[in-house]
Each structure stands twice: as C-alpha cells, then as structure tokens.
C-alpha cells in the first residue's frame, strides 16, 4: 500500500497547493506566474526547523507565516502594477526566490536540503494530515466563494475600477487574498518537504509555477471542485503515462493545449456544458 499512499499524499499536497493559487488567481483574478516561490518558502522554513529538531506540526504555522509575509510584500506590488505587468512581476519573484536560495550556503545552496527528518506521524498519519488540510481549505474556499467576500473578489476580478467606485476598499481585499493564498501555499510547502524529504532550488522554479497554474486553469479557474480534480489527476499524470515513455511529456502538453483550445473554461466548464446538453436533450 505504500505506493498508493505515496500517490494519494502527492495528490493531496498538489490539491492544497493548487487551491491556494486558485484563491489568488481564481477568486481575486490576480494571475501569478511565481506561486512556487511560496511553496518553496514554506518548504525551506519547515525543513530547516525539523532539521533543528523542532516537531513537525509546530513548523506548519511557521511555514504559513513566512510564506504569508512574502505574499504580503508581493500583494503590495499588486497594488502598484496590474494585469500582465503583475503576472510578469510574480514570475520575477519566482526567479528571485530561486536565485537567492541558490547563493545561500545557509539554505544548502545548490546542494539543497537532504535527509529531512520524518514527521513521526507514520505514512498513514501523514497522508491523513495532507488529505485533512486539503479538505479543510477546500471547504473554506467554497464558503468564502459564497460569502460577501467572495462577491467582492468576483467584482475585483471582473473590473477593479468599478469595485473601487462602489466604495469598496479593493486594496485591502486583494492583500487578504494574497496573504491567505500564500500562507496556504507555505503549508503545502511544509508538507511537500516532508513528503519527498529532499528539497533544492530546482524544486521550486518556473516549471513548478507553470504546472500549478496549469492545474488551476485546466480545472476551471475559480472552480474549487474543478481545481481539486485537475490537481489530483495532473499531479500523478507523468506516473500514469509511464507506459508511453518517450511521448509522455508530449501527450501531457498536447492534452493541456487541447483543453485550452476546446474548453477554455476548464473541466468545470466542460462538465456544466455537458450537463446542460444532457438536460436539454431530455427536456
């Protein structure tokens, strides 16, 4: 069962990470191309702490806080630059994060951090924790979506200037979205570090940022259910595709492309359209 548990844990961590980006990009409409930096911040924080013999569970809030501090700073820049400029700024943050980690011997530099201690929860316990945290955040996401706050986010994503005219302090709401989203990514990072038990600068680069954004958009940006499904499937897709070796990444990218080309609103859109079609046929 260890293999299945590893896969499920991987899926749960990816779901949590993808939902954290969905909070910023899906709910609040701020596209981020550097989200892996926050995963990395959480992972490094937590790994350094458990290596210093601090109990794993205590490192979770610490990972959330350090990631949220970084997220707050990036959130501030989002007040200054917008749209595509913001997207590229977040991408820059990702490169800066990796570039700085690489040069710090304190963080293991190029060598990364190996031999991260086990969580002491056991494989089952750790899996349960990952699933639990992902589920918790999913429920939180759905509730926010249906609240007044979710309504404000919708209107910011739709048209920020009009939101401001309505007398809503869009800046505060945007900052809150960044802080919640990045703190969650930090927690996902702590889980990531203790799942793979080896982290290095390359684990949190541009590729990782792109693949999490792809998960969110394939799921259907803003749709919690869609993102859960796509993150779970896409995180283990390379493993499922092992049997076609050479064409694995090609197939992955082709699926991604055709998804965008033929169902730009992702799985969520695909499902609702299929559902409508069936209903219309019945009627």
């Amino acid at each position: 069962m260890a293999y299945e548990m590893t896969l499920i844990t991987t899926m749960a961590i990816s779901v949590l990470f993808a939902l954290s980006l969905n909070f910023i990009s899906g709910f609040c409409g701020q596209i981020s191309l550097g989200h892996a930096a926050f995963l990395g911040t959480g992972a490094y924080t937590s790994a350094m702490m458990t290596k210093a013999s601090i109990p794993f569970l205590l490192t979770l809030p610490a990972a959330a806080i350090t990631a949220a501090i970084l997220g707050f700073i990036i959130g501030l820049t989002s007040l200054r630059v917008r749209h595509d400029f913001l997207a590229i700024t977040t991408m820059g943050t990702g490169f800066l994060f990796v570039g700085l980690i690489r040069q710090q011997e304190f963080f293991g530099g190029e060598i990364g951090i190996a031999g991260i201690p086990s969580t002491g929860l056991g494989r089952e316990g750790f899996m349960a924790l990952c699933i639990g945290l992902a589920a918790l955040f999913a429920i939180f996401s759905i509730r926010v979506r249906r609240s007044w706050m979710g309504f404000v986010y919708d209107s910011i994503a739709d048209n920020e200037d009009i939101t401001r005219i309505l007398g809503i302090n869009a800046s505060t709401y945007k900052l809150i979205a960044f802080v919640i989203g990045t703190a969650t990514a930090g927690v996902a990072g702590a889980l990531y570090a203790h799942h793979f038990r080896f982290i290095g600068p390359d684990s949190f680069g541009f590729v990782e940022s792109m693949s999490v954004l792809a998960m969110v958009i394939v799921g259907g940006i803003g749709s919690t259910a869609g993102v859960i499904v796509s993150a779970a499937v896409m995180s283990v897709m390379p493993l499922l595709f092992q049997f076609i070796d050479d064409y694995k990444l090609l197939l992955y990218s082709a699926l991604l492309f055709f998804m965008m080309r033929f169902s730009p609103d992702g799985l969520a859109g695909l499902c609702s359209r299929t559902y409508d079609k069936i209903r219309r046929r019945r009627a």
Partner: protein
C-alpha cells in the same frame, strides 16, 4: 472528445500498471530521465545499463536466472523519483535499484530504498548526501570533491601550472568540484586567481571570457557538462586564450568535441573511462556500446554499465535475493569493470583510479592515470 481520450489513456495506463511480469527473472529497478532537459544523459545511461544486462544474460544470467531491467522515466525530478522508487520496491518487487539519473531524483529515491532496506546504486549522480541516506546506498562515480582534488594534482603537479582561474558550473556538481579543487590547491602550490560562476542554462560566456583574459592565468579549471563546456571552451579559445583548460567527466562525451570543434584539441579531463585501455572489460564495453547505441561511448553510459555489473556480481555472490546478503556482497565488491577495478568504502563511495583523458585529432585518448589513494580517498561519513 478530450475527456474521452483522457479516460481512455487512464484506463490503458491502469491496465499497464497491473500488467503481470514474467516470473523467475531477477528484477533490477532503474530510474532514469528519458524526457525533459536531462534526456540526453538518460538515453546514454539506459543504453549502458541495457548493454550490461544483455552481457550478463548472454553468459547465462545469475545462476540460471535472467536479469530484467525495470525502467521508469523520472525526468530528473525528485517529485517523480519518490513514487517511482516506491513502485519499484512494492509493485515490481525489484531486488535492488540503480539510478541512471541526476542528483535530485537520486537523493530522493535513495531515502526510500534505504527505508525499505533494499540496496541502491547511484551510477553517476554526484550529490554528497546520496550515500549518507544509509548503509544500503552505494555510488560507482566519484563525488565531486575527489575529482576536484585530482584536478588540482593534475594542474599543480603534473602540468606544473600555478596561477589558476576556476570557472564553476553553479549546481551541486560544479560546486563540489570547486570545493575539492580549492581544498587541495595549496598542497600543489596553486594560487586561485579568481573564480567565476555560470548557470547550467548559459551557453554564452562572453563576459567571463573577457575577464579571464584580463586575469592572464597559467591554466583554467572549468567544470561543466558537454553542452556548457563545448561552447565555453570554444569561446575561450577563439578569444585567444591558449593556456591549458582542465575539465572533468561532465565533458566526457564525443558531443563535446563536436561542439567545440578544433578548440577541443588538447583539452584535458579527469574521468573514469580510458578509451585506449588494453583491459578486455573496457575494450569490450566500448566496442559493444558503439554497436548498440550507434554513437561514441560516454562516461554516463560507462557508469550505468558498471553499476549493473556490480549488481550482477553481488547477486551471483549472495547466491539469493536476500537483501541483507546482497547489501553485504555489494559492500565487499572488488570487481574489474569497464571503468577499472572498483571497491566501496564504509560509506558506500567508490574507490578507483582517476583516468586523465586528452582530446587528440577529434577523439578522446589516454593521457595519464592518477592513483594516489590518499588524495582520492572519498569521504567516509
């Protein structure tokens, strides 16, 4: 339409996952990058490993049982390597694992193999922490520090050059080479004039070349892989820098000579494979590899080939598939392989001679051998 394809693909893959393998074969797990940025080395490593399996099986296998390589593509990513290691151990029931991959994925997988008490051999991954995962993890390649020290001896003592510039590839490979080189530099009277770093993505070294030129060194110690070292060496030479350039096993590929062209002439490297060897194991390997792969041999292929032979010899000696006996048999290895006679120290690091190769007339050739056991002693903890 797309959803159907996805479902179909998933259905097919589940079938593939549960597919039954042949009985009675001894299975060796092999994680290797076959797609993505590291695919070139992965391909060579896979060819080398497959060749070794064919050679063992052609001689009747291990006590009548055939070897079978179970291969998974890890894209050189720790994220892929962890579940792959789990799968090899649990689903495929491999008796031991071999990494034909880079450091990150190998380090991550090593922990899983160690936890399951299944031996794991890293063919050419260089990360110092790999063997520190535990007593079941071994490595058939030199750690960077050892090779760096050999480079210092080559430059300071054998070539007698004292003012050296270091150009370091900024990853675990380059960094540990530079550390070893600097550690031994003083011993051989070398003065490190300056050190420059570049990223694995760089192919254009104009600024570094200009600066090195103004440093006027006696020799250059430059780490890199063929795809960075080829352009680097060619750019150093075409700027008029004629001093010796010393590289390492990362250069060790025909592709380096192809890229650097005439500039590659006279370049020295420290590596594992001696192209002009008169030893039968090495000669056989070189000719058989070239016949199989259709291109010239490289260090990565030789290392993967060696790792499989180490595994095969240990399996024969252990006389069964008991993990503990197998581990002890690997630890006690003393085997003549395509990269010379090798054994392991207490940490599982390889002990062997360093081959110095030189480019002459568009091919790698024998230059000298460094067999200073004290200098080449790998770390023990």
């Amino acid at each position: 339409m797309t959803i159907k394809t996805t479902l179909l693909a998933m259905a097919v893959s589940t079938f593939a996952l549960t597919g039954v393998a042949q009985a009675d074969n001894i299975k060796i797990g092999f994680n290797v990058p076959l797609t993505g940025f590291a695919a070139a080395d992965g391909k060579s490593a896979l060819n080398g490993a497959e060749l070794a399996v064919e050679q063992v099986n052609a001689k009747g296998g291990i006590n009548g049982n055939m070897l079978e390589l179970v291969v998974y593509d890890d894209q050189a990513s720790p994220k892929e390597a962890v579940p792959i290691a789990q799968k090899l151990i649990e689903k495929d029931g491999v008796v031991l694992g071999i990494s034909g991959s880079y450091s990150g994925s190998t380090r991550a997988a090593a922990g899983i193999f160690q936890e399951a008490s299944i031996p794991y051999i890293a063919a050419y991954a260089i990360h110092p922490d790999i063997t520190r995962a535990g007593d079941h993890v071994f490595r058939t390649a030199f750690v960077g520090e050892v090779q760096g020290r050999a480079g210092a001896k080559l430059i300071g003592e054998m070539l007698g050059k004292k003012r050296v510039v270091i150009i370091t590839l900024k990853n675990d490979f380059g960094k540990s080479l530079a550390a070893g080189f600097k550690e031994a530099a003083a011993k051989f009277g070398i003065e490190v004039v300056s050190e420059y770093e570049y990223s694995i993505k760089d192919r254009q070294f104009g600024p570094i070349v200009s600066k090195v030129k103004s440093d006027k060194p006696d020799a250059i110690y430059a780490s890199g892989y063929f795809f960075t070292a080829g352009p680097l060496v060619s750019q150093l030479r075409s700027a008029g820098i004629e001093v010796p350039i010393i590289g390492q096993e990362g250069y060790d590929s025909q592709k380096f000579i192809e890229i650097a062209g005439a500039a590659s002439d006279g370049i020295l490297i420290t590596t594992s494979l001696d192209r002009d060897s008169s030893v039968a194991e090495t000669k056989d390997f070189i000719s058989a590899f070239e016949a199989k792969a259709g291109h010239k041999v490289d260090m990565v292929a030789a290392s993967a080939h060696t790792a499989v032979h180490v595994a095969a010899a240990a399996l024969a000696k252990a006389g069964g598939m008991d993990s503990a006996k197998l581990r002890d048999a690997i630890a006690a290895t003393n085997l003549l392989t395509s990269i010379g006679t090798i054994s392991f120290n207490a940490l599982g690091e390889v002990q062997k001679d360093v081959q110095v190769q030189v480019v002459k007339d568009g091919n790698w050739h024998h230059h000298s051998v460094i067999s200073d056991a004290a200098l080449l002693a790998p770390p023990v903890k």
